[in-house]
Amino acid sequence: MTLLLQYTLIFASVLILVALGGCFSEHSGVINLGLEGTMLVGAMGGALVMRYLTGSVSTPVLILLVILVSMLAGTIYSSLLAVASIHFKADQTIVGTALNMLGLAGVTVVVKAINTAANPDDVSSIIQYGAARDKFVVKLGNFEFSWFMLVTVILLVTAYVLLYKTKFGLRLMACGEHPQAAASVGISVFKMRWAGVLISGALAGIGGIVFIMAGASEWRFEYGVAGFGFLSLAVMIFGQWKPQRIALAALLFGLFRALSNVYSSFGWLAALNIPSSVYNMMPYIISLIVLAFTSKSSRAPKAEGIPYDKSTR
């Protein structure tokens, strides 16, 4: 039971972080379909920090550096989306898809190159961080508390406050709903959309490192992030682009993802003798069902996906 709770919380953390990322981008008016690729780039950034710095810096510094570097990597990577969709008015769906492909391929190439440089016989795309992973975890009895859970809660609250209690949030959402209205009161739509996309990249980046460290002590980067970027988009839609509802939706999806890790420890579930692949499929099937029934009433930011053009009325 504790194990189920632990996995639910950590996977929900991933979904919350990345879905919040999507949420900021879409509230500014840019659809970020490249979350999957951005997660991977962020994960690589964090994993490399652990590979090179574990043991040479103190634990708090390591934790801080891993988080900052993965966020920074995601931010930089997402600036590609910003340039293409805001300045060159490219189709955001296509740019996002391209970022996913580029992310997976680019990260694999980089990690393999690093591995081969260190040891000519090693052509894998694996980074190991088992020793570092322990530093992120505090044992509370059977429950492994991860500092990432705390970071997620802090970022969740920050996101809520930023969106609904500050002028930044008011202006950001105005740009995603009616950019012409925002421009007419002197708000720079370009700047707000840049901000939305970059925040989205930072959150997806940290989401990526949390994901690969959720249940593993090494990661083979050519495997990608198993569709968690897209799952997060489903969470975002199910959460109606609102942080508080995104958190609840993420817990639901996280629960189903956690089940596939721990179902064997529940006697009655194991006794049903259902193949493990069925449990693995659960979050994705649930997301299909949920979206099929809820997307009709969903209220996306009105101007998302439409490049801002000053001259249209």
Binding site: V161, K165, T166, K167, L170, R171, M173, A174, E177, H178, Q180, A181, A182, A183, S184, V185, G186, I187, R299, K302, K310, R313
Partner: protein
């Protein structure tokens, strides 16, 4: 302060691809006056105001404020100079509250957090002072158009703007709301605000404005004091010729019935009752029948049922002796029904198609426009479009390849009318064909309708404008709550009597 003018726009020229929107235009606004800017659709009024508001930059010309030259490069500059604007299409975020929309862009914060309480107090005080009733917590998407407009006005007042631009503010309002707005504008001017009021409705300008400047096809025609002028003089300045406010037509000579509707019932989309209840009517060749009534009494649904946009619950429709009750929309079109729709953006045009493609929307499959292999015959489409543009005087920036979206409302309507009339229909259904058009264009539309009648076609006109109902048709049918409650002869009735029928205060048994 040695000049009486708060704002002067001197020799402004603004070009767009293929068109000069403003050609050496000068506009001088006095402190504390209501100054109307009059012009036909596409005369360049909105462009001129966008230049003043910083949304566009003029290629030539200067803007002076209190006699000093100023640069206005974006709405922030305009705002800093105290210039505010109520746009024709409101610039409101629909899912935000009224209050959020008002403070957007000028939010006050404390320690990084929004401070809405003071803003609310200020908004309520302004709302009280000028009689601008709003609910600050209501979402824009839930409130009436009138309240949305009051929100826009409060937005300007909240920013303490002294120069207020109203871009065709009455186009979207009910008569009652228009009256209120006129009073609000007068109050604002009395408080020392200077107002620019863009309109093509002469009666409103005569009532509310002190002076009026006229634009025609991008050029400045002149400025007059409203108390020294007449509506006739203004309209002549606007369209460049004398406009006949009354429709000249000879008596009708009705022939055989073209359209017969029997016991039509159409369901409503908004409530459980039927929107059209058991309506029967006949339109004969060579007559114009007007379906009059207050908006929302089933006229829209009747037309939807008639043209095939909605299925009937019961009843039959016969066109030229043929039952078309269950016919598809294209069949109805091919059998001689033309439809000038109420909402030209929704049902009239594909806004992102070119003008030429819009003009062949119902005919592209004919051999003239599609060859045997199934490919479009572009050259024929182009020459057909060129002919219609010439014949119906459809003006646009780039001719046949102009996107419909980029055309002015009046010219969009002309394009629809050209398309619908040129396919030589037996029955022309024209729903509010003059909505949003200026006097010159209205005259043209009425002339086309009467030409159709005189050519022996049947015309069914649906209108909400009393003047149009009295002037254009040969017979009036009044619709009230989904039923036809009276048949009137426009020559023998009065607007008062018509009003009684429309309000449901009077009814006759009408047989088809």
């Amino acid at each position: 302060m040695d000049t009486p003018y708060i704002i002067e726009m001197l020799h402004i020229t603004k070009r767009f691809p293929g068109i000069i929107a403003n050609d050496d235009v000068t506009l001088q606004l006095k402190r504390g006056e209501i100054h109307a800017l009059l012009g036909e659709n596409g005369a360049g009024k909105s462009t001129l105001m966008s230049v003043l508001f910083g949304l566009y930059q003029a290629e030539e010309g200067e803007i002076h404020m209190n006699g000093k030259k100023v640069e206005i490069n974006d709405p922030n500059d305009a705002n800093a100079l105290g210039i505010g604007m109520v746009h024709q299409h409101f610039k409101l975020v629909e899912c935000f509250s009224v209050l959020d929309n008002i403070i957007l862009g000028v939010e006050s914060t404390k320690g990084g957090f929004l401070q809405k309480d003071e803003a609310r107090k200020k908004v309520m005080a302004l709302s009280e002072k000028y009689g601008l009733h709003v609910d600050p917590d209501a979402k824009i998407e839930d409130i009436t158009v009138g309240m949305q407009q009051r929100t826009e006005i409060l937005k300007m007042l909240y920013r303490e703007n002294d120069i207020l631009i109203f871009d065709e503010p009455t186009a979207v309002l009910t008569p009652q709301e228009i009256k209120e707005l006129m009073q609000i504008m007068k109050n604002l001017a009395a408080e020392g605000k200077s107002i620019l009021f863009i309109s093509h409705k002469l009666a409103e300008i005569m009532e509310v404005a002190d002076r009026c400047s006229v634009l025609r096809k991008g050029k400045y025609i002149g400025t007059v004091e409203t108390k020294n002028t007449t509506m006739e003089e203004l309209s002549a300045m606007m369209v460049g010729r004398n406009v006949n406010f009354h429709v000249d037509k000879k008596p009708s000579e009705p022939g055989k019935p073209v359209l017969e509707v029997k016991n039509m019932t159409v369901a409503s989309k908004v409530h459980k009752n039927n929107a059209v209840k058991n309506v029967s009517l006949t339109v004969r060749a060579g007559e114009i029948v007007c379906l009059a009534g207050i908006d929302g009494n089933g006229q829209t649904e009747f037309v939807y049922g008639l043209t095939g946009l909605e299925p009937l619950v019961s009843g039959t429709i016969t066109l030229c002796g043929e039952d078309i009750t269950k016919a598809k929309i294209r069949e109805r079109s091919l059998k001689g029904m033309s439809h000038i729709p109420e909402d030209r953006h929704k049902h009239g045009l594909v806004l992102d198609y070119s003008l030429e493609d819009n003009l062949v929307l119902q005919r592209y499959f004919e051999p003239e426009f599609t060859n045997k292999a199934g490919f479009l015959r572009r050259d024929n489409i182009r020459s057909y479009a060129d002919r219609l543009i010439e014949e119906y005087d459809i003006r646009s920036g780039q001719g046949p390849i102009t996107k419909a979206r980029a055309m002015s409302g009046g010219n969009q309507q002309k394009a629809i009318i050209a398309r619908e009339i040129d396919k030589k229909p037996e029955l022309l259904v024209a729903v509010q064909p003059t909505r949003g058009l200026d006097v010159g264009a209205i005259e043209g539309v009425h002339k086309s309708l009467i030409e159709q009648r005189d050519a022996g076609k049947a015309v069914l006109l649906v209108s909400l404008e009393l003047d149009e109902v009295m002037d254009v048709p040969d017979r009036i049918l009044v619709m009230y709550e989904g039923e036809i409650v009276g048949e009137l002869d426009p020559k023998a009735t009065t607007q008062e009597e018509l009003g009684l029928y429309m309000a449901g205060a009077k009814r006759d048994e009408v047989k088809a």
